[in-house]
């Protein structure tokens, strides 16, 4: 597209002054660095793991790291006070409202339910669903890495809740994304189409969430073991 004009046409652009370089060229260096960063981080983490393990082995002579696994406490269920019940009622109300809006989106489209527009194609909606959910999920990965790669056993007790939170976070992302995408049945395409680093990021995100959900599913099954076994103080299976 070529213009001949006697006035400045910068107002035609989308709110910002244009650079002389095309945008893909500005982001290309970062995008090209993605595969190297990915592999480099893997090597770095493995090396770190190796060093830490060697150090721990060397320190085992003088007492070693304290290895504490909390016993399954016999947590008494909290009494359902009126306040708790009210809060739960409120939360269920919000959930119901969300469900109703989600169903409305299927019938009337995104514009009618989200108040997004051509001016704000991504809004609070994306901020909450993607950023909130992924942030929750990231915590699970960080804690698991801390315990199982960096061998900080003192964080072992919070692995389970962290992975459960990650699981719920990923579920939130995926459910949110399915309603947010215009054509959700094409969601598998980025995972098989590795044309550019961005697609790769997204497909890794898919693998990530699959892993997260798998791990989270394990937590759930693990927690559902028979109550009497837990009460008898049987040691929990390590997972």
């Amino acid at each position: 597209m070529i213009y001949i004009s006697h006035i400045d046409l910068d107002f035609l652009t989308y709110g910002q002054k244009l650079s002389r370089e095309p945008l893909p060229r500005l982001t290309a260096p970062a995008m090209e660095a993605v595969p190297y960063t990915f592999v480099g981080m893997g090597i770095f983490m493995t090396g770190l793991h190796w060093i830490i393990r060697r150090r721990m082995k060397a320190g085992e002579g003088d007492g070693g790291a304290s290895h504490s696994v909390t016993k399954a406490g016999n947590l008494k269920e909290a009494a359902m006070t009126t306040r708790v019940r009210n809060v739960k009622l409120g939360l269920w109300g919000i959930t119901g409202l969300g469900g109703a809006v989600a169903i409305m989106r299927l019938f009337f489209g995104l514009g009618a339910t989200t108040n997004l527009s051509d001016g704000t194609p991504w809004g609070l909606w994306i901020g909450f669903d993607v950023m909130g959910g992924v942030a929750l999920a990231a915590g699970g990965f960080v804690i698991t890495a801390t315990v199982y790669i960096f061998r900080r056993e003192e964080f072992h007790p919070i692995v389970r809740p962290a992975v459960l939170t990650a699981f719920l976070g990923y579920i939130a992302v995926i459910i949110g994304l399915l309603f947010d995408l215009g054509l959700p049945w094409n969601i598998w395409r980025p995972m098989v189409k590795r044309l550019n680093p961005r697609a790769q990021i997204r497909s890794d995100d898919g693998l990530h969430s699959t892993g997260g959900i798998w791990a989270g599913g394990n937590v759930r099954c693990d927690g559902a073991e028979p109550r009497n076994r837990r009460d008898a103080g049987a040691s929990r299976p390590r997972w």
């Binding site: 213009y3 006697h6 370089e21 095309p22 514009g111 051509d118 995408l181 215009g182 189409k193 550019n196």
Partner: protein, 183 residues
């Protein structure tokens, strides 16, 4: 590779290009105002004529040489066609609206009213080009303010206006889109 050249100094603001575009691409009626921007572009309106200080400027997809929308699309639903058009394939699209966020000109628009919403933008009438025709907008322009042709030809023919004017030639965004002053 085809391109469109718009001479702002010739445009009389008759908006025949807008109507021709709507007809040629079988676009539907306008969306409610709450979902569209004030510039007149929307999923059902791929070109618009803006007016500033009595000057009419046509707004449409630039069909960039290095399109940001195609660069960010995770499923390659947008790509640069051999005719020079940046075209869109709704069979691949997931509807994530990344292209809308990335376009520096704010060109791709969304069908907010639809329950299976897709992106929509000017496709340079690439099907007409394949048949040997001109894009609908340039073929109707009564004063030839907007013309189409081979990009290299256009640049050569208007080199004097584009490069030799006293006002500095202002290229933005690489060679993707350029405009030049003319007194």
């Amino acid at each position: 590779m085809k391109a469109i050249l718009t001479d702002v100094t010739h445009c009389i603001g008759c908006r025949q290009c807008v109507m021709a575009c709507k007809k040629a691409n079988e676009l539907e009626d306008e969306l409610p105002r709450r979902w569209v921007l004030e510039d007149g572009l929307s999923a059902h309106n791929w070109t618009a004529v803006l007016e500033t200080d009595g000057v009419f400027v046509r707004k449409q997809c630039r069909h960039c040489l290095e399109p940001a929308c195609a660069s960010v699309c995770p499923v390659a639903a947008l790509h640069k066609h051999e005719s020079g058009a940046v075209i869109y394939d709704s069979n691949k699209c997931t509807g994530c609206r990344y292209c809308m966020m990335s376009c520096a000109f704010g060109i791709p628009r969304y069908k907010w009213e639809s329950r299976v919403p897709t992106v929509a933008k000017c496709v340079l009438c690439y099907k007409r080009i394949e048949q040997g025709l001109q894009p609908a907008c340039t073929s109707t322009c009564p004063v030839k303010a907007t013309i189409s042709g081979e990009r290299a030809d256009l640049l050569k023919r208007h080199a004097s206006a584009l490069l030799c004017t006293p006002i500095a030639t202002s290229t933005r965004y690489g060679a993707n889109t350029m405009w030049a002053g003319r007194r």
